[in-house]
């Protein structure tokens, strides 16, 4: 196995390639990849479908890395050094065992796409400066444990894609209405009953936009509008009638619906 890996690394080095793909190679420790530390010019590192449990802090020494894919590993923690990587644009750490993001992560200077799908993250897992990531254009957080979305989400002015599919969200902050560039929003499979009227600012209706909101316990008026179509939902939440209803709903402080998503079988939870 190690021999095979060495050959791939050597080929990469000799071919002056800056991309290293080691998908499904049973790798446990990145540092055990033979000759890996010599690939200083690496711009793309794809290590999907391995058995990696931790990411070494010295990954930050690969100053040219722009894309890191660690999808489907067993990582429980990321190094704080990630935020010092000057060119990192795409980080995919989906399908791991993350229950927290490293301190200071929001300082990543160039990060455009962050994929933390299918982990064990919630609103308390995010570092304080997380919403300083104003270069972010896509944020994938589906299949996590968020019950609340921090209102600071409104600071991610460049966000075009936001995925919150299959979390435990009980409400969305009104600040989501400030994400004026948003063209894709996935909130299906949560515990949402109402939408903030400020979401009426968003343009998510149209052939170029995506708005997915199925499998939520919507209040009847919203559920009715979904029956006729997404554009009707947005027309409705912009109406004064709805603003009044929404105000009353929030004031009533009804208990949130119970969790319905059974996550016991998620591989991010199962201890091996």
């Amino acid at each position: 196995m190690a021999g095979k890996l060495k050959k791939i690394v050597d080929d990469t080095k000799e071919g002056n390639s800056t991309e290293l793909d080691l998908v499904d190679k049973g790798i446990v420790n990145i540092l055990e990849i033979p000759g890996f530390v010599n690939l200083k010019n690496l711009s793309k590192l794809v290590l999907a479908h391995n058995k990696i449990t931790s990411v070494p802090p010295n990954i930050a020494n690969f100053l040219n890395l722009e894309i890191i894919v660690l999808f489907n590993n067993a990582i429980e923690e990321l190094p704080t050094t990630l935020s010092s990587m000057p060119k990192l644009k795409i980080l995919n750490v989906g399908m791991n065992r993350l229950s927290t993001l490293p301190r200071g992560f929001g300082a990543c200077p160039m990060l455009e796409v962050l994929d933390v799908t299918y982990n064990n993250l919630n609103e308390n897992s995010l570092p304080a400066n997380f919403f300083c990531l104003d270069t972010l254009r896509a944020l994938y957080m589906g299949d996590n444990d968020f019950e609340l979305l921090p209102p600071e989400i409104g600071r991610l002015k460049n966000l075009q894609i936001l995925v919150l599919r299959d979390n435990d969200l009980i409400e969305l902050p009104k600040d989501i209405g400030e994400l004026i560039r948003l063209r894709e929003l996935h909130i299906q499979g949560n515990r949402l009953t109402v939408l903030p009227p400020e979401m009426g600012n968003l343009d998510l209706v149209g052939t170029k936009q995506v708005f997915k909101a199925e499998n939520n316990p919507w209040v009847t008026p919203i559920a009715d509008q979904f029956q006729v179509g997404v554009s009707h939902v947005f027309d409705y939440i912009r109406s004064d009638t709805y603003k009044f209803l929404y105000g009353r709903h929030i004031a009533a402080k009804a208990a949130p619906p119970a969790k319905t998503n059974d996550k016991s079988k998620k591989i991010s939870r199962i201890k091996k």
Binding site: V23, F71, I161, V210, K265, K266
Partner: protein
């Protein structure tokens, strides 16, 4: 006696008096002269008397009341005078060239008469004899009372007072039009209420002109070409390019694009409205866009590198990829048009990676997919 009635008349050469003159001074002078002419007949009678008996024994000088010596020269003018007594009532000098002016029984040389009684002109400051124009709280020579703006004589046609200036009626109307922000027709000299037409730099009512080509009465949208005026239709036919944005003729550089012609500065991006100024533009549905906005609007920015895609575009899930970056979003394996892939959060996933998904996730994805199919969304 040396002066004859004839020469006396000659001497007494007052300016011709105008019956119309309303100046009080001239009224008085007219009365004085009238009296004089009345005396005239009487004087002539006297003269005849004198000449009949040549006796001046009891005649006295009008000024000093002394008698005359027999051989003394006598001035005969509305009475008899010693030559040394026949002088200006003001300066006591003989009248230059015998000209004098009489007023209230006194005789004055021209200079003193003017100094004492004649008005001076508000423009040139000279004395006015003859017709006096009283206007604007001053007196004027008829030739000095002119329109402030065009210098036309106002003596006979009248004037309009405008901000302390005397103006002729035309200039006043022009000033008024200027104040209202309107133009003043150069032909009929009245205010142009609607749109105006400029020709050779002057504004006119459009209806004073007809199209040089078709003869139709012109409107304000008429155009000038080679010092002739044309209606818009004829002007357009003459092959002058019209800007597709402002609809005005293009006299400088012409941009040909989208099947139209444009002013360089009017050929702009339909989104940001910045002129292309010769840089590359992209067309879509009859509109032109700059590179950035074309790709931003029509989605040809690669999802991975975030750059504008030159060349082939791979499109899926409302996203686009450049040839180099269309790959499985998990294992980064390159894909082609023929590669089958799955949708996961609106990203492409190859079959190999999808198969590696945990069963519970696949089950959920399958269920969501089936529901979407049922509701007719896929």
């Amino acid at each position: 006696m040396t002066t004859t009635a004839g020469s006396r008349r000659n001497l007494f050469s007052l300016q011709p008096l105008d019956e119309q003159t309303q100046s009080p001074l001239f009224q008085r002078r007219r009365v004085a002269v009238g009296e004089e002419t009345g005396h005239d007949a009487h004087l002539l009678q006297l003269e005849e008397e004198f000449s009949a008996n040549m006796s001046l024994g009891n005649a006295v000088c009008q000024r000093c009341n002394d008698g005359f010596k027999m051989d003394e020269q006598i001035v005969n003018s509305n009475g008899l005078w010693h030559t040394y007594c026949f002088v200006c009532a003001q300066c006591f000098q003989p009248f230059p060239e015998g000209r004098f002016f009489e007023f209230e029984g006194r005789k004055y040389c021209e200079h003193d008469f003017c100094v004492l009684f004649a008005p001076s002109c508000g423009k040139c400051g000279e004395f006015i004899s003859g017709r006096v124009i009283k206007a604007m709280n001053a007196s004027w020579h008829p030739d000095c009372f002119l329109c402030f703006s065009c210098s036309k004589s106002l003596a006979d046609e009248g004037f309009v007072k405008n901000q302390g200036r005397a103006l002729c009626k035309d200039c006043n109307a022009m000033e008024k039009a200027k104040g209202l922000g309107k133009y003043f027709c150069f032909k009929c000299h009245s205010i142009i209420d609607g749109g105006h037409l400029k020709w050779k730099g002057e504004p006119y009512h459009p209806y004073h002109f007809n199209c040089h080509s078709c003869g139709i009465e012109l409107k304000e949208d008429a155009r000038e070409k080679d010092a002739e005026l044309y209606c818009l239709r004829c002007h357009d036919k003459m092959g002058i390019p019209i800007c597709g944005a402002c609809r005005r003729p293009i006299e400088e550089r012409v941009v040909h694009a989208l099947g139209k012609t444009w002013h360089v500065e009017h050929f702009v991006c339909a989104k940001c409205e910045k002129p292309f100024l010769g840089t590359r533009h992209y067309e879509k549905k009859g509109l032109a866009y700059c590179e950035i906005h074309y790709h931003q609007l029509f989605g040809n920015i690669c999802f991975v590198c975030n750059n504008i895609i030159n060349g082939d575009v791979f499109s899926a899930f409302n996203k686009a990829w450049c040839v180099n970056h269309f790959a499985c979003s998990i294992c980064d394996k390159k894909m082609s048009q023929k590669t089958k892939f799955f949708e996961f959060d609106q990203k492409p996933v190859c079959k190999y990676c999808y198969d590696k998904f945990p069963g519970e996730l696949k089950k959920r994805l399958k269920k969501a997919y089936d529901e979407a199919v049922k509701s007719g969304k896929v």
